[in-house]
Symmetry: C2
Subunit: 627 residues, 2 copies
Amino acid sequence: MKNIKISVIDTSVVGSEVTEVTEVTVASTHETLLSSLSGAGIMIEATCGGQGSCGKCKIWVLSGQVVDREGNTVEPVDGEWYLACQVYPAEDLVIEQTKQAKVSSKGEISDRFLEYIDLLPPIKKVLIKPVYPTLENNYSLQEMIRRAISGDGDGEADQPEDISIDISALQELAQVALKKVDEITIVRSSSQILASEAGDSVASLYGVAFDIGSTTVAGILVDLNQGKVIAAAAETNPQAAYGADVISRIKAAKTEDGLKTLSSVVRQCLNDLVNKLCEAAGISNRDIYLVTVAGNSTMEHLLMGVSPAYLAISPYVPVFNELPWFPPSGIGLDINCGARIIVLPNIASFVGADTVAAMVGVDQDLTSKMTLLIDLGTNGEIVLGNKDKMLVCSTAAGPAFEGAQLSSGMRAANGAIDDVTITDNVYVHTIKDELPRGICGSGVIKAIAEFVKVGVITTSGRFVSDDKMALLPGSLGKRLKVQDSGQKEFVLVRAEESATGKDISITQGDIREIQLVKSSIFTGVEILMEQLGITFAEIEQVLVAGAFGNNLDLDSALAIGLVPSAGRSKIIPVGNAAGTGAVKAILSVRVLERCRTIASKAEFIELANHPGFQKKFISNLAFPEGI
Amino acid sequence: MKNIKISVIDTSVVGSEVTEVTEVTVASTHETLLSSLSGAGIMIEATCGGQGSCGKCKIWVLSGQVVDREGNTVEPVDGEWYLACQVYPAEDLVIEQTKQAKVSSKGEISDRFLEYIDLLPPIKKVLIKPVYPTLENNYSLQEMIRRAISGDGDGEADQPEDISIDISALQELAQVALKKVDEITIVRSSSQILASEAGDSVASLYGVAFDIGSTTVAGILVDLNQGKVIAAAAETNPQAAYGADVISRIKAAKTEDGLKTLSSVVRQCLNDLVNKLCEAAGISNRDIYLVTVAGNSTMEHLLMGVSPAYLAISPYVPVFNELPWFPPSGIGLDINCGARIIVLPNIASFVGADTVAAMVGVDQDLTSKMTLLIDLGTNGEIVLGNKDKMLVCSTAAGPAFEGAQLSSGMRAANGAIDDVTITDNVYVHTIKDELPRGICGSGVIKAIAEFVKVGVITTSGRFVSDDKMALLPGSLGKRLKVQDSGQKEFVLVRAEESATGKDISITQGDIREIQLVKSSIFTGVEILMEQLGITFAEIEQVLVAGAFGNNLDLDSALAIGLVPSAGRSKIIPVGNAAGTGAVKAILSVRVLERCRTIASKAEFIELANHPGFQKKFISNLAFPEGI
């Protein structure tokens, strides 16, 4: 065994001119480059956990040789890069990490879905050389700009009279032109001039794609010229203080004041994210000229200050499915006042633009593969189909997955139990290895999968009888307690070992909660399959999206029947697909058009109304046999 | 001579349900009804002073007989009404005054130009009977409105997908629809839904036409369903505190703060006028859904917060000639937030939308008569032509006419000398017969005409020599004084008879000021005639517009050569033609279209650049011989 030195050049730090070089020494050639580096403390993102599917661990080898598992030389992909999870170091290496910016986990975007976009952002900057009016030829400044633009040589047929100019752009133009500059940068959409800047600022044009979830709001800063993600940030949706799920938010928004409050807190959250992103990227708020918003119908209604009350009363319709583009003043967003906000269209009351965005995010509307997309957020949206036909439904999924509604539940924050292994004892892993404070979604799924495996619960979801419990290995049996209320609970972490000084347990009620959710999702999938007339075997890929989807232990999810067992190899976690879709939409008018098509063509299936839903739902409550 | 009893029913009091009946007894049948009534204290407006030209003194005779000057029976016009200035009482009468609202003199509109408008306001209200969505047919509320509108039976081809909905309208719709009302009133333009109101409020739809002058801002409240003027109000333009004319305003707006201030004071003024108008008419600000704005280019730039600096530097171009319609938030106007503001288009730097409005106000673009339109405001705009061709120019006219820049000048307010008669002594008339405080525009014109007539000044504008002065009748000669500066002045009112305790005089400088202005206007007319290749004789009508035009003594104006002597009978005072035009524009999309056509087709002649201007200007300084 020989020592191998790996020098890692990291040019990815956003907003920094500094190139970091880190040198590490690894002792093994039998571990992938990815695990060698993470073992040595160099974190390279790999959403798929080293499956070779997420494409996030790209590296460029500047010197030295990498090999495959068998020790054979491998050629770089596209003659350029390798996936660190698929190659092994053969000798000393100098490698460069992906130039893609580091993004926070909530905001992460699957690059592979961004690769095939035609870069056609809805707005663009053009540099004009103004021909100032003279006494002989005394047109207005507005006319001067129109004339210059119709000759901007971009190949589009611009009829000067068809182009309108924003009032704020005229205010700027009056100031810009007074300087008699030789060059003016014009920001325009196809039919509107949005802003004018003195000199050549064409290179600086940014947009932010927002994914407004019930629980988390993510903002992704995009360079619209380069078609690249620059930075991402996420915050807890401040509306959470007014209720965990959309139904409680709708209730909170029933009064005029309530609506105003919920609207203003989320608007403030978007402003906070803009500030964070601009600070990280070293740009000004004024450089942001475009925003896309993907959110479920309730989130979009609240953002717009439109009462979502109708969404919660029969026949559960939204006030709007689609909105015209509007300036940032419409939602009090502090970016360039000439910018445009594009709220992506909704499909139905509980299937919102976030699902539309997820669908374009994974190109479900383009693929001929029969695809099952499950977006696990606070709600669970399910889409089954391909470019020919797509069925969608919505289930109340997530509060349990996100730690809410569980007795010891918490968000996936530091100290949350995110992994549980049960043998003759209980071993837990917490986020950042802090003292356990509670349990998050992925921890619960894993715990319940382990419960079934070791026999703490039956497939019906009940804790086993006391006699059977006594037969469990080690001290497991002693962890089952009966609460004062008579409810049974299984203690994962005893009070003296927890950060809170209280037992961290999973109760019979918690298990029931998870069963309800997993049955909803599974039943939803079944009904969509039935509607489409296909079987599990015909599903060619299962894409699991959502922040939760990323951290989910897929084997446990399969084990408890949360994800249909269409075959382990068909399952691909796709991260924040809605965010990816919002980014794609900000980058291309063609994607925006696809969103509109999806919103009008995708068929919404209301599960509650479906004959047979109830029966299926009850039979799906049980966990699969023989985990 | 017999006594005649006249009962006058006045239904014109705005916002009042009360019908006033006034009875007066008059002793003569040799005075017109108009002068009989005004002699008895009943004021009926008659802008033209009883010439039969303004059409404002309409009355309806409910019982009794009126006759003409010769005592012959006369038939009512259109089988309906008479002009009070043209008929004489033959016996006891019961008459009804015009139902037209009383309007303040600054805002008065010549009704006769409103008579031939196709009532096609750019926005309208339609009543829909919504078909609410069901579980089976679960479209959005937005879609519900679109469907209802496409079947509103107005005969227009409405493609539901072509109609966009304002965000504020969606916010309202969410609330309105929750009440499950049977009827919803929709406010719409051709392509946009602006607002929705529960129930049937179709009858209540108002607009305000603003005429923003450098000195006076007038607002005219219009019922858009009826096509009728409801009320009018005027205020001094608060920008006057930052300079009397456009050039000084442009200077004051050079800094960012200055621009902001000038912009915000005029916006506040519009809000004040809206409040006044709504109070007078007993309606709410929320009932106002449309606004037209006519102002000169500088006023429009300042209103929009767009720097007018370019207007004052060569090549004197505006930043914009035309703006898209925009919501009231764009200028902070406190009316219905779904309303639209239409800023009428400018022609050139110093010929603004107020002139365009005046042209449509008097139908200059429709007539085949060769028409000279002189709009006397702070600037003097001159338009010569007819539907085939129109030439326009602008002169710095008004500050002198409006009392500014004169040694004893003041606005046409109470105590201002508005008429002067000189025989062997000087007789002055003041507004509201108060003690004289100063002299206003019409007073100066009349005084100078009298000066020439009695020989106080020569036609060159100089005070006559002391010997000649001594020969003047009565004590006139003693009124000529020499100031400390050496300048001569003629005292109209001695200090002891004035409200200010100071002499009210006209100085040699004042006379020079008036000469400059009247020469500018006359020279402008001459140059336009020359350009068009016509003579005075070919001018078929001379329309004198502007607040000043209304109060002007036409004979004096002719006498001093302010208005070209194309023949007394050809001259028609047309009042606030710009306001009339703004009202016509708010009432009809066809008039709006005519404004656009005028703005692009009217030919602007820059006087200062015109060869021969200087020579003509100097020779026109003299007053006409033989007044």
